[in-house]
Symmetry: D2
């Protein structure tokens, strides 16, 4: 089994039990290393594009996060592991000091993988000390930041898997991260897509503060939503292939202006990782190359493609409010990371919405913006989410590489509309009841 | 007097009088040429950056619009003026055929200015024939498209002035478009900025269809808005200078992530067109170089700068809904183009909101997106607005170079968050009542 | 008649007659303006690539040369025409002050064409005063620099024609600089190419100082040359077409490494200005589009193409020493500018070398480097030639747009190996006798 | 001891003894691996700029060379190690098939270092079989190509060391390749630089074919050379520092035009690897950071810098003919790789020329071009040297990382004039006797 199965305690600002927190910390930290276990040392240092970070960088950066925001301010007498690591492993916190240029993370031969693991061990040891003996006055802040750090590390666990996929897909040898092929369910065909109506009105979205949430999910606030109908399942490879075969990638009328430029400059002809072989579409997966399964959800499409597909299909993408209104009614289960598939899987034959959680992140038509009354965290941690609120789009629901205790109805992921290397896909919506 | 003073008839889809339409057409067309009257032939062909178009291109493109969407489909027996002009003067309508690359519009020595004016005369002559004799069945479509074409030309009139300003500001000789200096009002100081509260709730925004509106202003729809307070006037140069002098351009904490990259790459230190001279700030205007007037509204700032300024000031930018709720209550008057200032001017000492219309376009915090239920126009004209709905921000209210019959409360302008060459400025807002 | 026919007095450092010098000056200056006579004002400001300068810039820059190197230092009481023109019209003389960025010469709306002609008139008036009344002590320096300035202006006359061709060829309307078609000689076929042997040994090349020469042609010096055979005439379009049709542009074995990269990145398939139309090759000329004449010399090929063609043909390009040894024996006549063809023309049926002067500049295999003992001119004028001695190749013999009193056996022209917009072509050579 | 000390048998096209050849092969192959011995696995995959190749790529590419040019054509029944390695490890041989893009060599996680060593072992085993049992008819070709392959691998050994230096210097941790500091000789001061005259005339340069030589060293041919004087030793850091301190990097008059652009764009202020620390210059070396030794030869300067320095010093760089005429008289000894310094060292107090071989490659003023009568090797191997004969400059004499049996008086190295990452330095010359 690739990843641990236990769930992350819904840690929040008032942890009743520091041992629970410490146990969760150890589990999350171990998960990152388990994800890297199949890698060769050579795989750890590669950066195949500016958006990708080398696996060893993820491992070190998540440790730097704990060192910077917990150990230095809260663990008395703590001395940093290495004076230059703050520069090397700060990602983008401008107010925390200088940082190594992002597109050049793959040029760092050193520290070695062994040294990075030693850094992790050093951080783990001190974090456990801090979590179990933090002083009364700091306990709440430490618990909150530790929880934030664990969620942060879980985000990087997802990035580890998306980046490893990119690194392996780039390589002409097409190495497999997992050797075993994915068992395909025997169900002959995909359940028909239908649209389920939801009555509009003034609704409430955003986090109410019961469990952990990022600042960008707050405050819980009212929105006015018209009646809408949300697709019962994700769009499949087969449905998307019809768009391709209808000439979708060569007809400007389906595409936003920026999208059409991207299609032409990048010469897109299909989702990322698809390759034609002998008249059939194949795709790179974490298990190596495999034939595209028409009944599985389409994945690795950009917002531009999701939006163009929706227009071609005579539908539209949902807003994030519409999505959340539906998702809030549904249990957080699905093809998430702990299932071990690490690839989106076919829908079941059900009456209600499915695949809401897991499988693929669902592009919404909502630009990533501040909720009314939004306040970022204080200080440097305020750079975590708030400063990205321009030119990106919101995605919802998690994917097949998202830890199950990391996702929730209010969770807002965001990427640029041309990004495709995430496990991102399409759910359609339409107006009316 | 630079521009005609008459107002554009609120032409809509059912023109009772074709002569009114023809008169409006002639006036709008004449305005474009009046704007260009002070230019030398050499000024007509320059493109100082990809966003700028040479004046002669604007003159020809607006003519192509009428030729393509009215004369060819509706004027029987019409023959195009030149077989290559469609390629040269199509701006971005992918479904209307090929077009000359946008960044290379300034490389076209020919057609000459004289030939472009001949093209305009040819279009005018045939348009007047069409407007006064269009067949019964087409009358409504012709009236609608002619009105759209006039609004389109008015948009380009504004662009003509912003682009001429850029062309002249680039030139080390700093030529003046208008020779006379702008009279500065004698009022010693600027009225204090205060914030006026508006009660929230379910509100209605968007065009109800009474007068002309672009497709992107429709449909009229409900939104939920919290209580808010909107600034009584625009932010002044003096207020913005305090941000500069406080180190605003060198402190990352005020800036969005994309913004901070832009500040560094473009080496921004002040609004566009500001230059330090002997310890004072000067700026390029359409009347040549002049000292920055601390009491006039700040202009030529990007969304990034507006947003950073708001954060530094402890406020925020308004949403487009908030702005429209206020603007809908106010008359459409202000320092618009017909006043002839062609530069933003000082606020008056008033109790209510002022400078809502005119002076500078006001950046809102709203990304440019489709209204719920939005439907673009049919066919190629659907490319007019809809395909730009990604990565841009909404601006509201018109500027000192906007024709007064071109602006309205529901009008949505949009530019990329880093754009600065428009007459764009800042109005602040805050939460609560 | 396009250009004056008189020859430039072989002005040198000891002019016996200042009136001769003044007359030559007037003639050269008038030639530049005559070249521009067919232009529209719109044509004067265009820069279609970084290497091209707008015609009005050439007109102003050549005037700046006289102002900077003659009027300011030698004409007592001279006041510069405009304080910013030195910045605008200095080309690349680093030690003469700042200069406007080269790729942005086409962004300057002002000064207008009329102002540039006024600048020229101002310079002419003062230059004539200087030439006829320069003080005894300065006479020699003035005569030398004035002569240099005239040769400089003649170089720019050639550039004017090459740049106008580029500007017109870029334009989709393909305007003609001269309306009349070029009369094609009736001779049925091209004389056969043969190679004429020259005995090797220690030879002397470079200028002996009898007439005017640039510094880079000096000193006259000895070189050792093996026996060689030089082609009797230029390579024709028909011969070059055989290379194209043999797949030359898609076979890497003929190309230098840098050349092959250029072929792929620039997607070269034929010489510059060639276009396929209905299965035939057409080309842009100064007289508009015309069918490629198989019997005329190939033109607008880069060094990369000339070198690849030679390799494909089993020959090589000559060295500049080989070329000069032959050229020094031949009279300076040929299809030069005064003939008015402004396009390369067919060879005659002769026994000896022909087309050595005129038609096209001939690429040699010699990199542009200093002759042994070379000394650049003193001061800023030392930047004229010497600082370009890296990464460029030598061309010899002048072209159909070279003034006849501007070319000589020792003349060294130089361009980067990928440049194609000059009138440059191919003469082959081989080893042995 | 880092490298083996034995000398490479001057293998040529008629090897009397296949065992000598096999022994040389084994030694050369072992040297490459010995060079990599101090590396961590993480160091093997890094490419810090397009010119640098990852160490594992060098190891594999040199093996591919033997596989492609020897094993496949000459070893009966040989099967390639992996079907994709030809694509991955072909460097630039267009006629040998496709190849991985050069700037992306550092993005290849796989094959692993272990797999690359397995590839090497496979090649070694089969090469030894071929060398000891090649059939009579092929023996001469095999011997020649094997020798070529060994020299090829030695070139890559030098590149391994220059590239490792670049990879380590890039890293903010500044790791040392060799831990021990370089012992500095006790000699107080540097011997004075003097210039030693050589009489000119018709001379002979190029390889006469006695030992191995690359095709670009042939044919031996006559050149005419004027009297010249060649500097007795290399230019030192101290002498170069005087140029820096005199403002050399900010005064355009010393620099070629292309050079000055490079200085400004790259913001050069000193040789590559120099860093100011507390008012002193330090530099990165293969032994980590050390203070710049004023008495050691300046290193890691481009042609542009060497040429500018020479102009500033009132001298010039030698031509390659001048250099070779002197070098041919001197024994091939010096601070070469086998000495183990791996850094240039101080000159001795001698009367004659010194440091001709080793220490640093010496930039000449000669562009890299074909010798008269030059013929590249037949077939794909003709791409080895000939296709680079444009825009590069010749360097002579080898460096402190050149194997001693790899250098000779006729050896022509070549790099672009802006390249600085090689161990390249300066020797001056002047005219006269």
């Amino acid at each position: 089994m690739l990843m641990t199965n236990g769930s992350l305690p819904r840690a929040n600002a008032t942890p009743s039990d520091s041992r629970t927190l410490a146990a969760a910390f150890e589990r999350v930290r171990a998960d990152s290393e388990r994800i890297c276990a199949p890698l060769e040392i050579e795989d750890y240092g590669i950066q195949t594009m500016a958006d990708v970070s080398p696996p060893k960088w993820h491992l070190a950066h998540t440790s730097w996060f704990f060192e910077t925001f917990l150990l230095k301010p809260y663990l008395g007498g703590y001395r940093e592991f290495h004076p230059l690591y703050a520069h090397l492993f700060n990602s983008y916190y401008e107010t925390a000091g200088t940082y190594h240029p992002r597109p050049e993370r793959g040029l760092l031969a050193r520290p070695t993988v062994e040294q990075v693991y030693a850094y992790r061990a050093h951080i783990d040891e001190h974090m456990l000390r801090l979590l179990t003996q933090s002083e009364a006055g700091d306990a709440q802040a430490v618990a909150y930041r530790a929880t934030l750090g664990m969620h942060h590390e879980q985000q990087h666990q997802e990035l580890l898997l998306t980046d490893i996929k990119h690194i392996f897909a780039y390589n002409p040898l097409r190495p497999a991260y997992m050797p075993e092929a994915l068992p395909v369910s025997v169900d002959a065909s995909d359940p028909p897509l239908h649209f389920i109506g939801v009555e509009g009105g003034v609704k409430q979205i955003g986090s109410e503060g019961a469990g952990f949430a990022y600042d960008n999910e707050t405050p819980c606030h009212r929105v006015y939503v018209d009646d809408f109908r949300l697709g019962s399942r994700l769009i499949t490879n087969g449905e998307y292939r019809a768009f391709i075969e209808d000439g979708g990638y060569s007809q400007p009328q389906w595409w936003l202006s920026d999208a059409w430029k991207t299609v032409q400059v990048q010469q897109w002809q299909a989702p990322l990782y698809w390759e034609p072989r002998d008249g059939e579409w194949w795709q790179m997966t974490l298990r190596g190359m495999s034939r595209v399964d028409d009944d599985a959800p389409v994945c690795h499409v950009s917002y531009y493609e999701a939006d163009a597909f929706a227009r071609w299909a005579g539908k539209r993408l949902p807003t994030e409010a519409e999505w959340e209104i539906v998702a809030a009614q549904l249990p957080v289960t699905g093809n998430l990371r702990e299932r071990g598939a690490l690839a989106p899987q076919r829908a079941q034959n059900e009456q209600r919405w499915q695949q809401i959680y897991g499988d693929v992140w669902e592009w919404t038509q909502s630009p990533y913006a501040a909720y009314p009354g939004y306040r970022p965290l204080e200080g440097t941690l305020g750079e975590y989410n708030g400063k990205f609120m321009s030119s990106q789009m919101v995605l919802r629901g998690g994917s097949c590489v998202t830890p199950p205790d990391h996702i929730r109805a209010t969770y807002r992921n965001f990427f640029y509309p041309g990004d495709r290397w995430q496990f991102s896909g399409i759910r359609l919506a339409e107006d009316g009841l």
